[in-house]
Amino acid sequence: MSATSMLLAGLAASVATPFLAARFKRFGGALCVAVAAAMFAFFLSQVGAVAVAPVVDTVSWVPALGVDLTIRLDGFSLLFALLISGIGTLVTLYAAGYMDEKPDFTRSLFLLYILLFMMAMLATVTADNLIAMFVFWEMTSLLSFLLVGFDSKKAEAREAALQSLVVTVGGGLALLAGIILIGVGAGTFSIGALLADSSALVASPYFGPAIVLVMIGCFTKSAQVPFHFWLPNAMAAPTPASAYLHSATMVKLGVFLLAKLSPIFVQAEWFGPTLVIFGCATMVVAAVQALRSTAFKAVLAFSTVASLGTITMLIGLDGELAAVSVVGFITAHALYKAALFFCAGVVIHGTGQPELDRLGGLGAKMPVTRVAIILAALSAAGLPPFVGFIAKEYLFEGQLVSSFAIATVTVAVLVNAVMVAIAAIVVLRPFFGKAPADLHVHHGESPGMYIGPLVLGVAGLVFGLAPWLIAGSLLQPAASAINSAPMSVSFSLWHGFTPMLALSALVVALGALVTLKWNAIHAVLKPSAALERLLGDGGYQAMMRGLDAGSAWATPRFQNGDPRFYGAVTASAVTLLIFYGLLSGDGPLVPTPPDEPFRLYVVAAVVMIVVGCLAAVLAQSVVSAIIATGVAGYGLALIFLFNGGPDLALTQFSVETLFVVIVTAVILRLPLVLGVTRKRRERVYDVGLSLAFAFAVFICVLWIAAAPFNAALPEYFATVSYTEAFGRNVVNVILVDFRSLDTFGEIAVVALAAIAAWALLRATGEKPKPSGKGAPKAAPKAAPKAAPKAASKGAKEPAAPTQEA
């Protein structure tokens, strides 16, 4: 089975199974897990092939735009695909338990989002075409939005969802721009082709801007400084989603793309240092914020941000070893952080208490969870013999051999000490010690919810003890893919007595110290307003407030509800543009019109139009004005008819007729007295504007008449109309056959407009009518302000304005 068909089958199953889960709880839930497990099994079966060479599978998608659906599984993509589908399997299992008490619909909806997210993620990491990848990338943002705001009745969840969407999709726009620049510069959107030969891109002037834009997109997605604030807020999501999206997978997309493109981007010498700077800044900010947090999930979220900063920094490092440490760290982190979140979910689910310092003594009630979290935390703290230890050894080694040794090692030691403390705190606080008096444990653990963390915790231990299980088959191809050159990876537990071992020991010692002093440090850092301003989401809030204020300023000015104002603005702009176009061109302003035979009947029609227009302007009553406009329209239709456009004329006649009918109906519902909304000065301007506009259009028409007529198209259609489309009416044949897709689009617009009108006009059943006093004098502007109550009363009275007509 090819990768593409597997992904499509997975997508279909992801949509179908949650519906079954809504109907049959156990059976359907098991099916959802099976979907994820099948994806995992599929990618596992690809390990052997990918270790030899990337697996490529192409399906044409939008050939006209050069967008195809190519699945390209290299080592790095496969590593991500395995993490996504593997953890996805555990998350669906866990979510079924987590949502057990929720209504069937809610539970199934959640499973649907999770499975769809998994498929979107899998597509993102395996897509070869950057545009296709971007589409899937944005799908993950949208699903993240839905999951963060899943508890949509909570205001903070909605706000966090909006924030995550604004930040990640905003960054997505930058990413799209960057991708387009890459495509323009390199002439291809294929990652595979780019990795094979990037010389065109590197030589093009778009190379630098493209890197910056891609970086912005990746930084927003992976919550790097200065966009780090959205991830902790996104903890409003249900815990299974936090574990899956906001720690193990989605937030790693940014670093995934940076790593994937790094073999190309490193050819700009500032790429690496920039990543190192932002990565280190993110690590420090996240470590400080973690120390300031009290909520279980917030602490974990900040440690995730710090880990993402670490990965960003590692990508920026030079040297072959950095690639190994990137893949090692990503693997280790995904395993232990998802497990920690799972355990946090078990605790919060069982107690309803999200604050770390109000928890305690849960070990007896949740023994398996305690084992799982201890395993995960030991890996997170980087203690042997866990995989986290190996990852940390490689982290230090990668830093030491790079050209940024001193600075990065210092940051890494300090931040990792905080990580050790976090690992200790999240185990010690909830599961040991004495339970606080107000802690109420609703229920203990259930197998569905502890299998996930236990599996991940044990995996961290097994891969630590037997790193050869993943080193050659998985990590080596992955590291080679982002190093752009094959390399041999020795991912082993024991390196001997090295500087890295000493650094690890130092980290653990410092971490123990921070753990002991956790409360004291917290008490110092927490109340600091300066830190909050500096590190919180103040900038985002200020931006949103500014946006609101700007809209509040602009809306009444540009959308004041007076169509005359809109008309004046539009006509002014069009007139100016036409005159600009006319005056900026070469040649005379007014062309010499071509010779036309004098035709009395055309003149008669023109007179009819002019009379209609004058009557419309001078009419006192709206009804007369409408009819006068209709007369002008009929005159125009006559001109069409005289000039050989019977179809156009026929349509124009019908349109004019219906125009009068519809507008008459509209004014029956409005006060008949013409309200004057324009001041005297403005009306003088309006007259001038009308004349200028008419003059501009007049000159344009002269130019159109003067331009030589290209008869190629009419002749073509006249020839092929009957031979190819079996119709003699060229206009109709074009509409229904040659350009039928356009027509289809147009009638779709008509149908949608009809639906909208049907819905909107419903409200006019309670038409707002100025209440009794001074109704005839009231300007139309005042009408919408009338209270709806007065309107319903008014409906019983005879409508005064209509009778006056």
């Binding site: 026929l650 009918v661 489309a725 009416n729 229904v736 009809a754």
Partner: protein, 139 residues
Amino acid sequence: MNSVILSATARIFFTAMLLVSIWILFRGHNEPGGGFVGGLMGAAAFSILAFASGVPTARRALILHPIVLAGVGLALAALSGLPGLFYNDSYLLHHWGYVPLGFTEIKVGTTMIFDLGVYFVVVGGILSFIFRLYEEQPV
């Protein structure tokens, strides 16, 4: 609109205009006309009925809800493009065939379905405005 003359002649006008609109619709492929113009004229026919005898009468005459009618039209237009796909051509590439009627045969094509769809959408679209605007009107 309580005009006796209008009420009396509305039925005749309605029938005549509707027939003309259908005639215009089907002659469209070779002579001036087609779905758009026909639809406009059909909508005008129903408008006269709504104007003279009230919206409920016009809605009964239309049988389908105007929005439903527009939807049916859109569906017809969308479906008319499918044969193109089955013949391994592009979507909306129209096909023609001859239907024998014994003594003669008439030419039919999927464009007719497409044009009928346009007709329905236009009639439904315009009438959804007009019915709404004339409904609940103080008479």
